[in-house]
């Protein structure tokens, strides 16, 4: 155990290879959480080196340190408030100018900075040469070259971190950005005013605060106002007159002019340190894009990749899915065998194992899906997918990047909602999450297959397709509605970097995949477990039911009667009789099960709520079924099976259920029910993930409420409208 500790913050542009540097430094010892109050992911890792305990914090990737996006505010506040010992600016060396823009902003903060020129191998490929010593000298900052994806330069970086942390005093920048005569004069004046008026200052670097005030930085203004409102007002008034003066001088907003100066400074540095050594460049990435985003081929290739992703997910995933199903079945048989039948056995087998098991079977699919998504992300293809689909998504007021999460929703909404983490804008994320359940997930398919199979025969396929299509249309309408009401505001500018393609690192793919899969596992142990137990209890209690018939006695009598009849026959003729007996007994048992559920709390709930669903053609049995479907949509089918009291083996049960349904429903009411199941409340797992990913119960509850209301309205329109024009 080392006694000295250093906190290191990693900052850099998106796509600068920051996460790779982070993994190289910390290995797998990382902790993933959220930054307090926002849904931006926070990664932290620890390691020991040179007698120090190092805590590495991976800041969100940003292009700048202004206060326009949540990520920028989070990153800047961490550096200002937590005062890490060292800030490492990760710079994509092959894209020096734009990356240095952020790095110089970091340099302007009152903190120790190291520049890491990552992807150093790309520099030569681009026919360039960067003079690291010159850069270090010009900006008075240590410079380290690394190649993240082959783990080169990590040790050098570590020793640079430790040695700069050991120097007691903060390095005073030799060169700061010079903003030109007029602006510099204002900076000096504002600095003097701050020094005079504000006795307590949250930041030590007054020049920096003056610059931020001249840029009208909201976060800094709020902070000053909070600390000393009256002094802040005085300072702000002085700043405002100077902003007016600058606006008049430059005929533009001061912050824009200052951005210009900063870039000018960066361009000067780049000119001094970068040399072009050859005009010849091998730009593989650009050539690849001539196919992958080609006007004719781009979309077909994209569709193929998506198709392949689903194929792999569901075909390869089917094997481990079978194993898990087998294991769950084996486990419940073992438990039934070991425990005396009764309430504890019921709780464990029908409540816990069945409930958690029904979600656990999706785990392999989720792992594979996330692995594919990680490949898309790490190679840089995700940005191309957004580029290709943006026009389509823009119809709903969404960013192109929302396409993949929505598409994944057809598999399972849970990983799909987790995949919205790739979206930068919070509003885009919430909107994508809210409309995601309208993408009909695979768990709803068994319900459609049952109902469409029972009522539409050969047209079942088209009918099911129409339900999926309805979901998409509703998603567009609802998306547009929410965009113009609840989630109004400026549509985030599309401005998206298309980074060069890169060969992904297996290690980082696995880390990405596992980070998300872990969330899914944790959820299974929590919400799903509790929810399954609750639904089981509702459909099991009260235990003492007044049965209309004494089933036990009837079954006993029947067994005795058949026993007698069989004795009178020769052994060879007994088989037919035995079969007949078994069938009649299982019919009785099914009737008993039906009555148990009917008289359980769940059944009573269904009967109480049935009047609400009656106008959309769903009777009390359907009501109970859709309530139980809250745990997982496919349970609707098994609950219907119980309530229509169909016995026998699997195949026969399916057919018996269909003919029983035909007696109590019409094609129209069946279609209304399919539509209702498509839209109504997302399953428990989805609600839990919505809560987690939006970081608010408000959105989770809203999602439950709006979807159920919408489901009722649409199903009502279909059922009553259909009846009106004489269908059903």
């Amino acid at each position: 155990m080392a006694d000295k500790s250093i906190t290191v913050a990693l900052a850099g542009n998106p796509n600068s290879g920051k996460s790779t540097i982070f993994s190289n430094l910390t290995g797998s010892r990382q902790k993933i959480g959220n930054w307090p109050g926002v849904t931006v992911e926070k990664k932290e890792g620890r390691l020991s080196a040179y007698g120090y305990d190092l805590t590495i914090v991976d800041l969100p990737g940003t292009y700048s340190l202004t206060a326009y996006t949540v990520e920028e505010i989070v990153a800047r506040n961490f550096i200002l408030d937590e005062q890490p010992d060292v800030v490492v600016a990760v710079i994509d060396a092959s894209n020096l100018e734009r990356n240095l823009y952020l790095a110089t902003q970091l340099r302007e903060l009152d903190t120790k900075v190291i520049f890491v020129l990552n992807m150093a191998d790309m520099i030569e490929q681009r026919g360039l040469k960067i003079d690291g010593e010159k850069l270090s000298e010009l900006l008075d900052v240590p410079v380290v070259f690394t190649v993240g994806n082959v783990n080169k330069g990590t040790q050098k970086l570590l020793s640079a971190i430790v040695s700069i942390a050991e120097t007691g005093t903060k390095v005073e920048p030799v060169r700061k950005v010079h903003y030109g005569k007029d602006i510099e004069k204002c900076i000096d004046e504002v600095s003097a005013i701050i020094e005079e008026k504000m006795s307590y200052r949250p930041y030590t670097d007054i020049r920096w605060v003056a610059i931020k005030l001249l840029e009208d930085d909201k976060v800094i203004k709020d902070r000053l106002k909070y600390i000393d409102p009256s002094a802040a007002e005085l300072v702000f008034a002085e700043v405002a007159t100077r902003r007016d003066r600058l606006r008049g001088l430059f005929d533009d907003e001061p912050e824009i002019v200052m951005t210009d100066y900063r870039y000018g400074f960066v361009a000067g540095v780049v000119k001094e340190v970068v040399k072009t050594i050859s005009e010849h460049r091998a730009d593989m990435s650009r050539r690849l894009d001539q196919v992958l985003t080609n006007r004719l081929l781009g979309i077909p290739v994209f569709v193929f990749f998506i198709w392949a992703m689903f194929q792999i997910t569901f075909t390869v995933g089917a094997y481990p899915m079978d194993w898990i199903e087998g294991a769950v079945g084996w486990l419940s048989r073992q438990v039934s065998y070991l425990l005396p039948s009764g309430i504890v056995e019921g709780l464990i087998v029908d409540g816990i194992i069945a409930g958690v098991g029904s979600v656990a079977v999706f785990f392999p699919n989720i792992l594979i899906l996330f692995f594919c998504i990680a490949i898309f992300e790490d190679t840089g293809y995700m940005a191309r997918a957004a580029f290709l689909m943006d026009k389509v998504m823009h119809l709903i007021g969404l960013h192109g990047k929302s396409f993949i999460p929505l598409l994944m929703g057809f598999g399972c909404n849970v990983p799909a909602i987790m995949a919205t983490r790739t979206l930068e804008s919070h509003k885009d994320r919430v909107l994508t999450i809210l409309i995601n359940p309208l993408m009909s997930c695979s768990a709803r398919l068994p319900v459609y297959v049952l109902l469409a199979g029972a009522f539409f025969g050969g047209k079942a396929g088209n009918v099911i397709f129409s339900v999926y299509f309805l979901g998409i249309v509703l998603a567009i309408l609802v998306g547009r509605l929410f965009r113009s009401t609840l989630l109004r505001g400026e549509v985030a500018p599309f401005v998206m970097e298309l980074p060069p393609y890169r060969v992904p690192m297996l290690k980082s793919l696995l880390i990405h995949m596992w980070d998300r899969a872990k969330i899914f596992l944790k959820k299974m142990g929590g919400v799903i477990l509790v929810g399954s137990v609750v639904v089981w209890a509702l459909s099991t209690y009260p235990r003492t039911v007044d049965y209309s018939v004494n089933y036990e006695a009837r079954i006993n009598r029947m067994e005795n009667r058949y026993e007698l009849m069989m004795r009178q026959l020769p052994p060879s003729a007994r088989d037919a009789l035995r079969q007949e007996r078994d069938q009649r007994i299982s019919a009785l048992e099914a009737q008993k099960a039906r009555e148990t559920v009917e008289k359980s709390y769940m059944g009573r709930m269904g009967k109480t709520l049935a009047p609400i669903l009656e106008p959309i053609g769903i009777d009390w049995r359907g009501t109970v079924a859709v309530i139980s479907g809250f745990v997982a949509k496919e349970i609707v089918v098994s609950t219907m099976g119980v309530l229509y009291a169909v016995g026998g083996d699997e195949v026969k049960r399916g057919e018996a259920l269909k003919s029983a349904l035909r007696k109590s429903m019409t094609p129209l009411s069946a279609y209304a029910m399919m539509v209702f199941v498509l839209i109504y409340v997302p399953c428990l797992a989805t609600v839990a993930v919505i809560r987690r990913e939006t970081n608010s119960w408000k959105w989770a509850l809203f999602s439950m409420g709006y979807s159920t209301a919408l489901a009722w309205v649409v199903a009502f329109a279909i059922y009553q409208g259909g009846k009106f024009i004489g269908l059903g």
Binding site: R98, E255, I256, T293, N294, H394, P493, V495
Partner: protein, 80 residues
Amino acid sequence: MKLSELKQGQSATVVRVGGNGAFRRRLLEMGFLRGTDIYVEKYAPLRDPIELILKGYHVSLRVEEAAQVEIENPRTGGAP
């Protein structure tokens, strides 16, 4: 002239970025400064957005956003 009026394979020089504050600032931070050369690499298959090359990297903008960027000296070629 607007950036959105350029065709694939043309380049031009930035004069000024219009639009609201956050958008302007964002574009400037990404390097859309006066005097910067921009090359139109391609339009997406559905004609929107546009892929551009500037300062040695690739970036995409929606057509409506590119319409906010004023340019001069349009010329064919000039691929970086």
